[in-house]
Symmetry: C2
Subunit: 340 residues, 2 copies
């Protein structure tokens, strides 16, 4: 077991205990109000019987706790913040599933599929409120009130950015043209700001100074951007056996990812090709050829590398230390050192 | 102009200025993300041109500010809290309109009608986050951090209760039988807790002790319950020319209000009648006769009077003072001294 596995195991245990305390999951059968949330978290099945379903990788809360410890704090003190970001993430999934009309998540039916859109919207709202209550519990663990107020403010400023990202994402689906800059702004909101908040809150609870907090926040932001751009590259040129989905899916669904948007900006032939309804294997082959010709892969790779370098530089500048730093490096490698 | 009109005018001005600051409404044309929210607030039309549409009575924030002043505080300091409860109320309206499939509100099309359910869910989430940021601004006006943390906690505990009330309300529509107790619990969540929060936050910002804060909170809760029960009575026996809608609407729509639920519990004939599909004027007449026979009106009137008495008793026990107290009494009379 390496540092990340060892620390991550202990941290996820504390995280899940905290989330269960906030969501009143105490072994007794919940009413449907809490039951819907417990189902979403994987703690209950659709009949509200006990369940223990994979609840995702919980990378964000673990990163938050590792930063807190590596920044000289006690990660146990930051558990309420870790619970808050994980509940925030789960709230956004409940509403995203409605907005994207997704029938399943993590191999199970989504809330709106089982209980209707109306109750699912409301369950998401409930979890959003409870995420805030989770964060408020920092005060109970001895974090000074000034820092709690600041944490809550950064939490909601991030929520604003998240909803801006989601607004843009839904808007892009209806538009013909989206620029590379608009796309970067969108993924900043949808992905990067939440990872940035995690790193920032970890350092804030550790009691760090503003300069150090800013380095951690920038590390999280750049890591989030690098992660998304690498995902975009692998979605076209990735090794199917490694990424577990057909590498051409992003092309057949005409998904507007970074390489595609760059290609569309620079190749009239690709723009012409993308007006085609049918996306058969000939379409995929031609699209990839055109993307390669425009240098879309190089462009995305250069971006990913730059974000990765900036993330690592900021992490170093924050002067983390101890086994949590080692674990943080392992986590960062897991996210960013993929073969792209 | 009486005290309520004079103070209310000044307070609403400050309230609207604060909400505009939080929602970045600064005279420049907003993007669609903010534009949807500005439209909902009545500041913009559907093409995002400037508008000035009636934005509701804003009773909750005015009550909050009056309590703050009557409790010995400076109402100006509490303006961020007033903005927060008004934005919270408006967030819940955006989602309620989707959940109830309401095509119009305040004489205009609802957000989901104009921009789709997906974007409207997201706009509600955005306003929920911004409501929190509004409350956080208490700190900028010199409210001690400990009180801000407490205000935020009570704010989100109230949001949990609100979503519980909404969950129950939607659940009741699908059920045949709802008890009087279940109904009281539901309106407590849907209506009373928010008014209670307003009174509580006003007293909290004024720096009052816990006993006084509790009296104000109970005053708000009881006033909210009394208001709703009086509405229920007027919905059946009210003077049509005074309440502005047909007094029989609640009967023809078979709405499960307090008198009806009491009647259904105590009259087999009414239960039998309510299995009927058709709700013509004979139905209305017979329903009202049966309700009168079971003593449903007396039951509801007794409840309304008891809640009103408790509200007034708690208000007195909180020892409010000054012109704001006079205005608070005028507001309370306006809400509760209706002819029922």
């Amino acid at each position: 077991m390496n540092e990340l596995e060892a620390l991550g195991y202990e941290m996820r245990d504390a995280l899940n205990e905290e989330m269960k305390a906030v969501l009143l999951s105490n072994g007794r059968t919940p009413d449907l109000y809490y039951g819907m949330m417990h189902y979403h978290m994987g703690w209950r099945d659709r009949d509200l019987g006990l369940a223990d379903v994979n609840a995702g990788k919980q990378i964000r809360p673990v990163l938050l706790l590792l930063v807190c410890q590596a920044a000289g704090g006690d990660w146990q003190k930051a558990v309420p913040a870790a619970a808050a970001v994980e509940l925030l993430h789960n709230f956004s999934l409940i509403h995203d599933d409605i907005e994207d009309a997704s029938p399943t998540r993590r191999g199970r039916e989504t809330l709106w599929q089982l209980w209707g859109i109306e109750q699912a919207i409301n369950a998401g709202d409930a979890m959003f409120a409870l995420a805030h209550l989770a964060l408020n519990r920092l005060y109970d663990r001895g974090v000074p009130a000034e820092r709690v107020v600041r944490a809550l403010r950064r939490f909601d400023e991030t929520c604003v950015r998240l909803t801006q990202g989601q607004h843009a994402d839904m808007d892009f689906e209806k538009r013909d043209r989206v620029t590379v800059d608009e796309y970067i702004a969108m993924i900043t909101g949808k992905t990067a700001v939440l990872l940035s908040l995690c790193a920032e809150l970890g350092a804030l609870v550790a009691g760090q100074d503003d300069t150090t907090i800013a380095h951690y926040a920038q590390y999280g932001l750049d890591a989030g951007l690098a992660f998304q751009v690498i995902d975009d590259i692998l979605g076209i040129w990735g090794d199917e056996t490694l990424i577990g989905k057909s590498a051409s899916t992003d092309i057949t669904t005409k998904k507007k990812t970074l390489p595609v948007l760059y290609g569309l900006e620079h190749s009239a032939d690709l723009r012409q090709l993308y007006t085609q309804e049918e996306t058969d294997s000939a379409f995929v082959q031609q699209a990839v050829t055109l993307l390669n010709q425009t240098g879309a892969r190089d462009f995305a790779t250069t971006k990913a590398t730059a974000y990765t370098q900036s993330a690592l530089g900021n992490l170093e500048a924050a002067h983390p230390s101890g086994p949590a730093y080692t674990a943080l490096n392992q986590l960062t490698d897991m996210l960013l050192k993929r073969d792209y």
